[in-house]
Symmetry: D2
């Protein structure tokens, strides 16, 4: 904490630190430093801001810009060399921790027919959202799941998992989402390679949906006590149907339109302890109002096109584009079409915010709820 | 507690009461009685049995036997006169409390086109299981639901509810299930007639399923905190599909075949606090093993035919027949068909058993798990 | 359900059953009866009362009246013969189920120095409240506890337990409280005699309080998951001190004065799943207002004297007297002294009411909250 | 993410990234960078370490070294200028976030008689542990608490709080513990100065302990639903008595001796959502074995003297010294005395680890459980 000045964070507000440097104080600060200590009032206003100012920046990554380079990775590295063949989203404000936004990592993984990545497990919770291709699969603790476009699949903290594409499939691309940066920040990240590099298929293929994807029903005698959803795969067709049904009986949210959270059907809570996810539908012509939330969001457009205004900045998106909303920045969404709905998949760290008592949200109060566009 | 003898419950077992009457003791017992007291050892073995012996008897009611008389009630009483036009199942061991089994009441309600029963609410939890007819509906706290055969609908403790049949419907019969006897036994039964005798339809028709019947998804921002399921109607088609899917990936239960519990999708728990329900499929040729459970069960055959052996007694059933399994009696089920599946709907008081720490089950240990048939 | 008349429960209220007998209907009822059924409207108003009317009657048992006969039992029966040497409270409205009130059993147990009752366990939850004598002890699952006057001790559902008095003790009397009647009503009562008739002392004596009776602290690494309190004994001295401290900072309840619930320190909830308990202090001169609650209460005066008015009837009590308040009857309490506080121990079935969603209470609205005294 | 080399994290292990730079790949990496992306395999082994390596260093701060400078702050700044007059512990590995260890902040606050710090609230959870002086107090949401040496007091997330020393008190020093760094890292830190700079005393002084510090009892009718303990102050005398009692019936933990967690008496869980605390007693001559845990610990010696070995480094401590154990470093403790016990207060972020499913611990397997001392 050596610095020529110690009074750079002064505020002229009652109740805040406001101590000017003097030679005597500077000498005092230097002695404190030699003892492995410092004076709180020299940093208090810095470490206790009035409200969060995220270090992440709002960003959008256009799939059109990335797809070719993602595919090119097929030629450049093998899964064996790379571990996982992924191009990740590198937020300029979070490059030091390889995050897309906040403490969330995300990237695009590409695999060709017959390829399989080695099995492993880690403390980071992970999910995948399928973007294109036929024949992708994931094996989570012996539960093999087949995957199609817009399917959403979990690989929770501590589960053995491996991904691949069937021999008779096509090149597949999916979005990975993990909280690797959070696990590192919390110094709780463990990683293991599966002793056999590959795990067995221990259950009938897609048994997870056969058992747990029946609304309002559960297999008797199955006492699920793990801290994540027993339903590991959420398919697109029933998800889109659910949104369509909800739209018929609900006005939805002023900020998000028709928004459904993916849940653990055994608890009604989030799918994993540290990452939640949702799918939302913006109805034809819908334009939501702005609000801000603690927590970070990674969006992928699953259907249609539109734009979002984040902290006054407009980002236009269409199917497969990815964008991020950093914590406590106002954001609002608009569907570009007056005839088609648009759907946004999102994953976020709200389960962390809620588990720790930190979730807040606030509506944008002025201008009818719409931000002025700054750029 | 006046009785000529006080030693009728003696047992010659160490640790059990075993006191013979003497003139001195009888005089003592009489003085105790005059003080509003009694000696525990005169009744201890009676009130602390080694294991439960239910007062209910196993029974089956054949729909063919009842249907005509149920329909006849249409001519005999109006809903206005009767409150509800129901013929109830009167277990010979439980006539004093009007129970079908244990503390569970059940009956067959019949309504004609255009009829509506008056709106009311009560502490008893209630459910309906539709047997025949077109156009039945229930309105629960303003949520109107349309009902078809084998649909299962809740009217939880404290909710305003009314039933009826649409003007353009046909005569409908459904099974009612309630825990009226339990509420009376617990001296906690309250009853109110709706001030207007009828309640408004406050939401889009069938909004409950539109919002809550999407597996693994929930409407964001809906924070359900009531002690019963927000999903009030469980339709037959998805229920049967769920059983069929489960049958493909699960061996099921040795005692119940392919059994799914109806659940509150927000908790994974039972649909109401005092009554649970399930639907089970006996696969072609399936014959389960016997077990016994604390708690009482009311079954209705929803599809196919077969038989159950309850406490050594065989009961043959087919679609729409109703039968009951009293607490702690061994029971096993068999599908009569080698080519078709058979389905049994059941409701029960296991949520009470579980909430109070009293649930137990035990497999029948002998004879390969099958009871000898006594009658 | 044979009866000459079937219309004895008619009510002239819209929404209630109101069907007069006719020859045709009576013939119909008889046919229904032959089918093991009956018409709901003949009993609907009986089984769905407007509000609970308890079958128990309010009662008070004076210790002065009972003590001599309780002690006499020492000469009349041995613990070996009697199992437990207890004189129980026999509510005239509940004699058929040996209950003191509702589904709660209670009695006075007496043991002499050196006597021990045989070890056993059962589904009924049990408690003891010590009234007089030195050297009483209870052993619950190997945890031996020493007991003094006004100490309260648990023997939860399923725990092995035995009671006795030390060789160098004196004759001891305590009040037993159990929910034997409820367990029987729910047909879930199991009873086992310990194979050795006696169990080992497996832990340091009074380890339960040494581990769990420290407010705001718990032994690290002890992960208690049983459905009852790990703290098995609640001693009188800290309980009385707790009430005294609370009285200094709280106005207390209008209905109960300074009332504290005994809790499971791991959950803040009731001590056992089916029985709760409390101790309350009526301050000098305190006279509470009347209210009524679902659930049944057994009181013992632990200190001082006063009276309670239950359903308009006055009951005067002093130390060691026992009285009961049946469900949904208004009750209010008064301390007889203007200088000393009075304390009432109570146990009740509110945990059952709450677990099943049936708890209600209501203040007496007239006359400044005080009932007219009828007797 | 610009760097001359991209293959610095290669590992020669199957399942790990192992891609050497080539001119073609470097060109590819540069294009990815221009798109706001990067290749996962260039950083995978860095961001997915095999196990945590904390950035914090083990440290001890001797009170003898600091006390004089802490007191000197009385002369250098007023509470009005400083906000709070605190010298904080500045871990060399965590200077950028002003943390003592991990994401935990800690410092020594000093106040003179009659001084009061202005009232405020923030998202950071906070606690104080009193070190010396008479007359200290804290007001939390209107609950004023008087504080003595070794008392532990909470100021949870979102509560208004202010500290001071009575006019007739003496200079007081206490240790502050907060998770300010975590709140900042999670970008969820809000800060408010109380509109009046001071808040009212809304309840009887010390009402929190009068209501909630009675073991196994709670004030009836108080339904506490806030996510932190209603008991806000944990006094030293009953805490030390609790440890002494536990020591008589428990062998304690091989790693921690007699260790008790401060708990929320309504849940049995940690005192706040993001910070837990404990007090432990090392019995005379006790020397514990080494283990390591996810989560970070700040210790203060509350009584006696001894040493701890952290990651092979020995730290000798006596009363009032503060030391820290970073995540996943082995640590063991020893009492210096063969006749007196030694007590360590600790606070930590285990509630965060547990809420997010990240808690792990591991015993040191070699050398009888004792680390070799490296320094
Ligand atoms: Fe992974
Ligand atoms: Fe949002
Ligand atoms: Fe009803
Ligand atoms: Fe069964
Ligand atoms: Fe017993
Ligand atoms: Fe009461
Ligand atoms: Fe603060
Ligand atoms: Fe440790």
């Amino acid at each position: 904490m050596s610095s020529s000045r110690h009074d750079q964070y002064r505020e002229e507000v009652l109740g805040r630190a406001n101590v000017a440097d003097t030679p005597e104080l500077v000498a005092y600060y230097e002695r404190l430093e030699s003892l492995g200590t410092a004076a709180l009032w020299t940093v208090a206003n810095k470490i206790e801001p009035w409200e969060p100012v995220p270090s992440s920046v709002p960003m959008l990554w256009r799939y059109d810009d990335l797809r070719e380079d993602v595919l090119k990775a097929l030629d450049l590295v093998t899964p064996e060399q790379a571990g996982r063949r992924v191009i990740y989203f590198d937020n300029p404000g979070r490059s030091d921790v390889s995050a897309a936004v906040g403490w969330l990592y995300s990237g695009l993984q590409v695999m060709g027919p017959g390829e399989v990545a080695s099995s492993h497990r880690h403390s980071a919770s992970a999910l995948r959202f399928i973007m294109e291709g036929q024949g992708a699969f994931t094996n989570v603790d012996g539960h093999k799941m087949t995957l199609g476009a817009n399917d959403f699949v979990l690989t929770p903290n501590g589960t053995w998992h491996e991904h691949g594409v069937a021999e008779d499939g096509t090149t597949c691309i999916w979005q990975d989402g993990l909280d690797i940066p959070l696990m590192n920040a919390l110094e709780a990240n463990f990683y293991e390679v599966h002793p056999d590099l590959s795990q067995a298929i221990s259950y009938p293929v897609d048994d997870s949906t056969a058992k747990w994807a029946s609304a309002g029903l559960k297999p008797a005698g199955e006492n699920w006590s793990k801290p994540y959803s027993p339903l590991l795969k959420y398919e697109w067709a029933p998800t889109y149907e659910a949104l369509s049904k909800l739209a018929k009986v609900s006005d939805g949210s002023a900020f998000d339109g028709i928004l459904m959270d993916y849940i653990n059907p055994q608890t009604g809570g989030p799918v994993m302890q540290t990452i939640g996810a949702s799918m939302q539908m913006l109805r034809p012509g819908e334009k939501t109002k702005a609000h801000r939330q603690t927590g970070n969001f990674v969006y992928q457009c699953a259907k249609g096109s539109g734009h979002s205004i984040i902290n006054g900045q407009r980002f236009d998106w269409k199917e497969r584009d990815v964008f991020v909303v950093p914590a406590w920045l106002y954001h609002e969404h608009a569907n570009a079409s007056d005839s088609e709905d648009a759907c946004l998949f999102a994953f976020h760290d709200l389960p962390v915010m809620r588990a720790l008592g930190l979730y807040r949200e606030e509506a944008f109060a002025e201008n009818g709820g719409h931000q002025p566009i700054l750029s």
